[in-house]
Amino acid sequence: MSDQQGPPSSMDVFLRGLWQENPVFVMLLGTCPTLAVTNKVINCFAMGVSVMFVLVMSGLLISLLRSFIPKQVRIASFIIIIATFVTIVDYAIQSISLDLYDSLGAFIQLIVVNCIILGRAEAFASKNGPAKSMLDAVGMGLGFTFALLCLGVIREALGNGTLMMDTPFEISLFGPNFAPWSIMILPPGGFFVLGLELILFAWLRKRREQRRAQTAQA
C-alpha cells in the first residue's frame, strides 16, 4: 500500500501491481498494446506472457547489473537489455505459432517502448535486489495480463460470441446464430471498452470510499 510506512513486504510488492498500482487501470501505462491486441483472448494471454517474460528477465538482469551500470548510460543500457529480450520473445512466438504472430502484429516488437517495462526498470529493478525485482515484475506482469483480459474477454465475447477463439479451447457463448458486434473487435471498440471499464472502476472506488466514510462516521 502506498500509504504504508517502511519498506513494503514481499507480498505487497507482488500484489500492488495486480490492483492498487495496476499498470493499465491505475497508472495508464502501456495503453497502446492494451487497446491494440485485446480483440482476442488468446492475444491477451500471449501479450501478457510476453510482457511478463520481458519484465522478469530484464528486471532480473538489471537488478543484478545495477551496481555496474553507470548512471549516465542507465537508460541506454536498459533499452539494450529490454530490446534483446523482446527480440527473443519475437522469435519464440514465430517458432510456436505463425497465426498468433500474425494477429499480434508489430505489437510484440513494440514491447520495447512499453512504458511499463522501462518504468519498472527505472523505478524498481535498478534500486532493488533480484528477488524483489522479480516479484515486482511478476506482479506487474500479472496486473497487465489481468487488465488485458478484462478488455479481451468483453471484446471477444461481444465481438465474436466466443472465448478463446482460434485455440483448441474455443467456447461458443451464444450459439451459432449470434450476431457479433463487429465494432468490439475494431479500433473504436477498444477505446470504448477501456473507457467504460475505467468509469466502472472509478464508480466502484467511489462507492467503496463512500461506504468507508459511512462506517467511519458510524
Partner: protein, 193 residues
Amino acid sequence: MNTESLPSIFINTLIVNNFVLSMFLGICPFLGVSSKKETATRMGVAVTFVLLVSSVCAYGINIVLNYIGAPYLTLICYIAVIAAAVQLVEMVIKKYSPALFRALGIFLPLITTNCAILGLALFQTQKGYNFVQCLVYALGAGGGFTLALIIMAGMREKLELADVPDIAQGAAITLILAGILSLAFMGFAGLGG
C-alpha cells in the same frame, strides 16, 4: 518491393489507417498532450519531424543489416538509433534555434518512447517501401497523428466547460471521445484506393 502509389500511401496513413485512431500507436502522448490546442500542435510537429528523421535512419539501418545478414539485430538497432537521433536532433535544435527548442524541446525526450516512432520504422520495413515511399509514409503518419491530436484538443477544450460526471472525468472520457472519433474515421475506409 512495394508498388503502392505515393498519394495512396499518404491518404491511407493520414486518415484511413490513422496511426492513433486505427493502429493504436502513440496513444500515450495522444491522451497526455491533447488537452490544449497549442501544445497539441507543437507535439504534432515535433513527432512528425522525428518520424521523418527516424524513417530515414531505419531505411539506412535496414540496408546495412540485410547486407551483413543479421535481421535479428533490427529491433535493437532501430531503438538505439532512434534514441540517438532524437538526442542529436535535440542538441542541434538547441544550438541553432533556441526558439524552436523552447517550443518543441520538452516533447523530444518523450517522443523516444512513443511507439508511433518505432512502429513506423517496423512497418515501413515490413511493407518494403523504397526511400521516397518511406518519407511519404512518415509524413502521412505524422500528419495523421497531428490531425488526431488537434481535433482531440479542440474537443477537450470544449469539454472543460461541460458537466462531465466525476467518475468519467480524465482518461475515461478522453478514451470515449477517441472511440467516437475513431468510429467517425471509419467512414474514410477505402479512400486510399
